[in-house]
Amino acid sequence: MNSVERVLTTINLKEPDRVPLDLGGPISGITKIAYDGLKTHLEMRELPSVVWDRMQQLVEIDERVLQRFGIDFRHIRLNPPRKEEIKEVSGESFVNEWGITFRRSGYYFEIVDDLSPLYKASLIDEVESYRGPKPHEGRFRGLREKAKKLSEQGFAVTCDAFTGGVLELPVWLRGFKKFYHDLVANPEFADALLDRASELLKLFWGAFLDEVGDYAHIALIGDDYGMQQGMLISPKMWREKVKNRIRELFSFVKQKAKVKIELHSCGSVRPIVGDLIEIGLDVLNPVQPRAKDMDSFQLKEEFGDRICFHGGIDIQYVLPTGSRKDVQDEVKTKIQAFAPGGGYILGAAHNLQPDVPPSNIAAMYDAAHRYGRYPIDQMAGE
């Protein structure tokens, strides 16, 4: 089986030869410090570390590293915006092509809430006339050829999210506090923000898939709905405000290209997994294992016959602080939970952070190969 066969088999809820593995992209990637450590560990120190995501400090991953771990996915993303679309305010702050201001916060660059482009807006007209960036030709140059080549090489090609989704983009454009206040106190204004965000997302996804859709296998949409102890907004509000809009985006994407849809949502989202399946979601990421009501075995039991899970390896405690054996046990457990019957893609439950030792990264993928062959040994480790 090649990688794409393996990945599509598991997404279609059948057992492939082994559990497919992911590394790369905006939510299963690796930070610069972790990558520097990993390169040393793998004796590949000569490889460059090139940051492509300033907010999260994620780096390009060399093909040799991906081959070393037997990674089945290759990620395609928009080219960076033109230099003139970004305003460098200082070495510590910049404004991106959406008009969103980022300021250095320790290791990362964080969004500055009260400088959001629609923070001061008070009229729906102002929201509707927010221009946003244009999906110009430079953002897509070379991507079609790249996707074609990766597809011909047998990899599962994922088109990556380029900004927040239906619920998250309004947060970034309006500011978290103001938008969440709007949701309760000014629902029509909130609707205008949600609608404008959805229009812009369709504009970009349309252009992206026009370029690469013939060769892509998965479209990854990122839209956080959960936090550690529960959802960010109530399931009721999610169903009223988000469900139909994200359903439309899913339908739009599937009409544009023959792709599976993967949604990344951090945190506790159990109450809406059924809804997401209903509206056409194929893969749910990252199934953050320590979030409330996100137990891997329970999720598989309740939803495993209808959706594929991606992620699952604990990035909050096991990967940063565990021993190699702890990491191996974590991998074994998650494979036993998610993999039987197909429907599991293994990866860390978010980007590999600076505090994850390289030996644990290697331990995760090596254990995934050792314990991920089908049929899954459900007695392993007992």
Binding site: V112, H181, V184, M227, Q229, D355
Partner: protein, 209 residues
Amino acid sequence: MEKAVVELAEEEANELARQCVELNVDPERMVSTISEALKVIGDKYEQGEYFLPELVTAGTMMSSIIELVKPLLTAKGVKAKGKVIIGTVKNDIHDLGKTIVAALLISAGFEVLDLGTDVDPNKFLAAAKNEKPEIVAMSALLSTTRVEMKNVIDALERSGLRRKVKIMVGGGAVTQEFASKIGADAYGKDAIEAVRISTRLVRDKAKER
């Protein structure tokens, strides 16, 4: 007014608050009414009826109403329950949780000095020296920045101020285990708990005198 606050009917609540002020309703009674509303909102949050949008709205509403009431409390010579200085630690610019905590503490009758975000340990120290708060409250969202909380505690220790304040910590990266490890007096898992803890800490401090 309490009903409007609990139901997050913002315009109605603000209007009723203005009417209360015009009718010379006792400002302390207004504050205790808001505190009651806060308890109900806290219960709704814990029971999974209210989520972050509701909490943010409650914080905004309470801040507005307290702004109306504050001058009346001062005029009446009403003492705050206690003084809290609060901030997000150095290198951390997250402030949503901290802002909600500050708003709810004010609503609950505390005097709150919000130092903002990315607050250097020396700034916490200076505020502790000058303002003489009962509580120093710190927030951190990142595991890379929560370490600054220990730096603040150490600075207070070195200045001989540690025993004069109670330290309360919270934020996404903070746990009870971390709080105990760095020698904080209390950890609050959310804004609602922060208010309860603050009341307890002020009481404990009074007993120690």
